[in-house]
């Protein structure tokens, strides 16, 4: 499909946006979705695939310890309420961001964990993207490895739509949108590295460039900096909107967290 054609389709179907396969207007068709891991070298791929070699597992095992540790005024561990994470957290990362009807707002996985920590464990909030928050997120996300991303909650639609608008918006000194790189030029080399389709299926993940483990928000900050745009402030609603849209456009892709990326 030509870019022009897809733009027209985007206009036509924009209002009818729904998390359903046939309505992926202006986006990469399902059959052509490619994970970032498919563009990596065999060595980086092998590092991701073997638990013994994947540095992200160091965060997963810390998260497991935190899952089982009592915390807060409630003196409860995550495990005291949820039981085994393998069962309780299966698929949870794959369906986040989710809409929390009680609070009438969308939350990402870090937000759901944070809510339990503060409201249910009655413990002080963990530093956002700090080592413990990342470790818990890594452990919970690990329980979705291999499961398909499921963006099916109709209540998320307005958020997905605003994320989509951000994704297509030209920003920064280079006047680029996310789509310029990840929808129109994926597969091409940029400074020696193949551009991916920009999917969120590996997060949180271990990035060689960071020499550490990090969140999707951190990756998005990197992209905004690369576009010579001012990154949104930490925790800004734009990140949640982008995440909701990225999950929607990656609907059906298997989760890889803790992935490894160059």
């Amino acid at each position: 499909m030509t870019v022009l054609g897809s733009r027209i389709l985007a206009g036509l179907f924009g209002v009818a946006l729904a998390p359903l396969a046939e309505l992926r207007a202006g986006e990469i068709p399902f059959a052509e979705l490619r994970s970032g891991s498919e563009l990596m070298s065999p060595d980086t791929r092998a590092m991701q695939d073997a638990d013994s070699a994947n540095p992200g597992m160091l965060w997963v095992i810390e998260g497991e310890a935190l899952w089982n540790a009592k915390a807060g005024a409630a003196n409860l561990a995550c495990a005291d309420c949820h039981g085994a994470a393998e069962l309780a957290m299966r698929g949870v990362a794959a369906r986040h961001p989710a809409f929390d009807a009680k609070r009438n707002q969308a939350v990402n996985l870090a937000g759901s964990i944070e809510w339990c920590r503060v409201e249910r464990q009655k413990a002080p909030a963990l530093t956002a993207e700090g080592p413990e928050a990342l470790a818990l997120e890594a452990y919970v996300a690990r329980q979705s490895r291999g499961l398909s991303i499921a963006s099916t909650d109709a209540a998320l639609r307005p958020l997905i739509e605003s994320g989509r608008e951000l994704y297509l918006r030209r920003q920064g000194q280079l006047d680029l949108s996310c789509a310029h790189c990840h929808t129109e030029n994926w597969g091409r080399k940029l400074a020696g590295l193949a551009l991916s389709q920009g999917h969120p299926n590996g997060y949180p993940l271990y990035r060689l460039e960071w020499q550490s483990f990090g969140s999707l928000e951190r990756r998005l900050r990197n992209c905004l900096t690369g576009m010579r745009a001012e990154p949104y402030p930490a925790g800004a609603s734009e990140y949640l909107a982008l995440e909701a849209y990225l999950k929607w456009r990656a609907h059906g892709m298997p989760m890889e967290s803790p992935a490894v990326r160059p």
Partner: protein
């Protein structure tokens, strides 16, 4: 509308900035030779026996898996005492030195290294008979390891 060509040129120009520039105090082949001499005592390095396995082209200089080994059977007379890895461009020429003890198995050591740019790596094996063996491999790095700012 931006064409693909224009786009790639613009974006390529900006990412060039993110390629890290080395400090003046980088290891030179001379510094590397000195580090090798410190291990060998200036003994002759013979090509062969030792093998350095590393991908010839790497995506990110921050973490590259490599294996130094002396393949094949090793009779007691030429048991492998140590394996070393050196580089010519990182700020420091030494990368690792492994000494094998009484419980050693096959002489083989795998780890992940950092490389500040395209360069030649030198692996050295010391055998029980006092001989030193060498393997050299050139590695092309598209994104160098951070030796400057985080």
């Amino acid at each position: 509308m931006t064409t693909r060509r224009q786009f790639l040129e613009g974006a390529g120009a900006l990412t060039a900035l993110s390629v890290i520039h080395l400090r003046a105090a980088q290891a030179t082949p001379v510094a590397m030779q000195a580090a090798i001499d410190a291990v060998t005592g200036g003994a002759v390095l013979r090509p062969g026996r030792v093998k350095l396995d590393i991908p010839p082209l790497v995506e990110n200089g921050n973490s590259i898996q490599c294996t130094v080994s002396v393949p094949g059977p090793t009779p007691a007379s030429d048991r492998v005492r140590a394996l070393h890895l050196f580089n010519e461009k990182n700020p420091q020429p030494n990368m690792f030195g492994v000494r094998f003890g009484p419980r050693a198995g096959p002489a083989k050591f795998t780890t992940r290294i950092r490389l500040a740019g395209t360069q030649t790596l030198v692996a050295v094996a010391k055998l029980a008979d006092g001989s030193f063996w060498v393997d050299r491999v050139e590695v092309v790095v598209t994104l160098a390891a951070c030796v400057e700012d985080p």
